[in-house]
Symmetry: C2
Subunit: 306 residues, 2 copies
């Protein structure tokens, strides 16, 4: 099953340390991993790891970092033919500090020059896909991808993580399935309660609307029953939550493309993301499909009413 | 004039931002530079930029990062034939956050496996050099380099920056010229006053002993007069002090090898380091020799008694 993921790809340097520092000085990390991440890229890597065929549409620079990003994502099994190498632009770079509780400080750099290339998204590829997934990094590209997915009659999934309000306003109505992060949902709907946020979001959209709440699982609006449902993930000891959201989105979109029920999509995505959190190194902790299925078979994840 | 620099080489990701963050979250940098640094490597790059011939002795991993470090330092004009690529080890990686006042948070990672390679330092090369410069990263290698320099009758310069007390205790007596950073001098001599620290250090050594004090310049012990001397640098607006110490050490060692007086070595090194501080991007701000000489010719930097 082919999935097109459209959005960001970056080279991340992920340090593991006792505590996130407060202010200037020097802190010695106990471990480090350098690898390609980014919302769409990590989700695409999850699709590939979980047995799907992942196509990535993204923009990097024509520098050495861009070459490393493409090489690393290709090695992760992603088709990178539509990762643009934008002339004269610098590739996205992030440093992430992860503390002993899995809390993070993220310093991401994006060169505005990446926007200069006028190459459109690979819309013809979408005809061959079972679903698309977009993030909010490049709203114009994402809008075209969502529209084309709707024309093709396949799921158009939006990873609605923190970003400019205009991006959410433009992309939310175009998606068939919107998955908000908790901070993005609260900011976009102007409340500090996730249940209220979900009600407000669902009132503005006629498709699937959900919010991921980390260890509290995923809540979504059940339109038939006009109720808010929740499925919790397995309990794990988190050592690194970096890319957990992206793994959720990739896993969810793949299951949707395979025709699973919403409940099963959420169960599968919850379990994949939870296992990821037990491993240091961002998306490198993404589990294989048998590992997810083994945990799904061994446990029961009931639908609750929130 | 050939200079052997022995010590650390790392791949640094340097972010420029308004303020060093305090705790978890996300901060957006306004700029980023990724390039090879490290104490010995940045000093070697300064030697090359200032017209000397720089040989680097260091250890990196046999990974992609190691290849980038060697390529970047070779492009800076450094002879990297003696940069060991240690099998199965990961290359040193650092992230540096620089705030609007040039203050820094540094997160450096060094793989203990880099120590495994038994290759000795390139002692035969030292016979062809005018001076050596070592940092405290690999004390065993540094001790051999300093001893060989003494056997050859050339200056054996120690960059005594913060490090384990045993490293300072082992290397300080082997050097002919020791340049302490302020925090290292205070820690090693057990006082919080730089002048007292210098007196204590000079009592334990019969060569040249000095402490660099950033914008307050360099103080050293004048053995003939039994007095503490100081030369101040030009006043500049610092935007990034990363690698300023390394530029000082490289410039000082090159001038020493060229046979200049101690006062002229310090003036030249002060000016080179001060100009570096006006440019964002670590060692990329190292000035050319004509730029240093123009500022030296235009100003007077008298010897003060501290």
């Amino acid at each position: 099953m082919r999935i097109l993921c459209s959005g960001s790809a970056t080279l991340d340097t992920i340090f593991r340390l006792e505590e996130i520092p407060s202010g200037p000085g020097k802190v010695l990390p106990s471990d480090v991993v350098q690898s390609a991440h980014g919302m769409a890229a990590s989700a695409a890597a999850a699709v590939a790891k979980l047995g799907g065929e992942a196509l990535l549409h993204s923009r990097v620079g024509d520098d050495e970092v861009g070459a490393r990003i493409v090489a690393d994502l290709t090695a992760a099994g992603i088709d990178c033919r539509h990762v643009l190498r934008v002339k004269g632009a610098r590739s996205p770079l992030s440093t992430v500090l992860v503390d002993r509780n899995g809390e993070r400080l993220v310093v991401p750099f994006f060169d505005p020059a990446l926007g200069r290339d006028p190459t459109p998204p690979p819309l013809a590829e979408i005809e061959t896909c079972g679903a698309v997934l977009v993030d909010v990094r490049r709203p114009d590209d994402a809008a075209e991808v969502l529209r084309q997915a709707r024309r093709c009659g396949i799921p158009a999934v939006l990873d609605a993580d923190t970003g400019p309000a205009e991006a959410h306003a433009a992309l939310f109505p175009l998606s068939t399935h919107a998955i908000f992060s908790e901070p993005a949902a609260l900011a976009f709907s102007g409340t500090d309660d996730p249940v209220t946020a979900l009600e407000r979001l669902a009132a503005r959209h006629d498709g699937f609307v959900s919010i991921t709440l980390g260890p509290e699982g995923c809540i979504w609006f059940d339109r038939e029953a006009r109720a808010i449902r929740r499925i919790r993930p397995p309990r794990v000891t988190a050592v690194d939550t970096l890319a957990a959201g992206d793994v959720f989105h990739g896993a969810f979109t793949l299951m949707l493309a395979e025709g699973r029920s919403i409940e099963d999509c959420i169960r599968f995505a919850n379990v994949a993301a939870a296992i990821k959190c037990t491993v240091f190194g961002g998306r490198k902790g993404t589990p294989s499909r048998p590992a997810v299925e083994a945990l799904l078979a061994a446990s029961h994840f009931p639908v609750e009413t929130a």
